[in-house]
Symmetry: C2
Subunit: 146 residues, 2 copies
């Protein structure tokens, strides 16, 4: 049986336990063509996100995402946590590692490969471009700790 | 001078180098009251996000966020990368560590403290609740690798 995060839904919030980041490769996804890939977990449907789709990825050494893609509406943010790799962005290449963030506008063709010897661990965050109306103090109310 | 990520804006994408996650404490923010806090970096204005506000946090051992807050429009997602802590969610407490994700609906009062001996490293993602209209294959176009 495929590995699943442990999820607890409460009134107003949801808690998920994904397990250690160095075991992300135990998660698998199956493509519409029936191929299985390890090290990818999608969160939106699992925890009920309504403003983003977020995934964890752990691309194995030597592997690449097997296609390039671009978006119609959504801005994507790639946040790299460990490992070494390369993103292809239209006709350019960008080296990525722990601490690299790449924000990609919808129409740019993108791909990724692991150029190192350990998994390339990263998060990918999709949100509708232009959808954030306000944030931080403009969207918040504060109170002292009780 | 305060530490700043190294940022490169290109046509259609932006690359930021935040540096190693275990040096996040070198980033500082200053409150409107003039107090300085270490280990927090906001990304939206730095890299031009339009669908999310995202921050990195490295809450020091023994520290807590000095107030509780809630949101008007925005769903928040807390992604914990290392360390140990506790989130307060209205009248409940949730233990958090590497691999814990907490999705919080706008009206829930939230706070956080570090209960461990190393920094509590995490990401916080804000997006307008209900703003994601489509994602993944419903928002994407694919092509073979060139």
């Amino acid at each position: 049986m495929a590995k699943e995060p442990v999820i607890r839904k409460e009134q107003g919030y949801t808690v998920a336990d994904m397990g250690p980041l160095d075991l992300l490769h135990e998660y698998t996804i199956t493509s519409s063509a029936g191929e299985t890939f390890s090290g990818k977990v999608w969160l939106k449907n699992r925890i009920g996100l309504t403003g983003t789709e977020i995934s964890y990825g752990a691309l194995p050494p030597g592997a690449k995402v097997p296609f390039a893609h671009r978006h119609h509406q959504n801005e994507e943010l790639y946040i790299f946590l460990s490992g070494e790799g390369e993103m292809r962005l239209d006709d350019s290449s960008v080296a990525v590692k722990e601490g690299t963030i790449v924000k990609v506008d919808p129409p740019v063709w993108r791909g990724m490969r692991n150029t190192g010897t350990v998994p390339l661990v990263h998060l990918v965050i999709q949100a509708k471009a232009g959808s954030l109306e306000q944030s931080n103090q403009h969207d918040s109310e504060y109170r002292p700790l009780g």
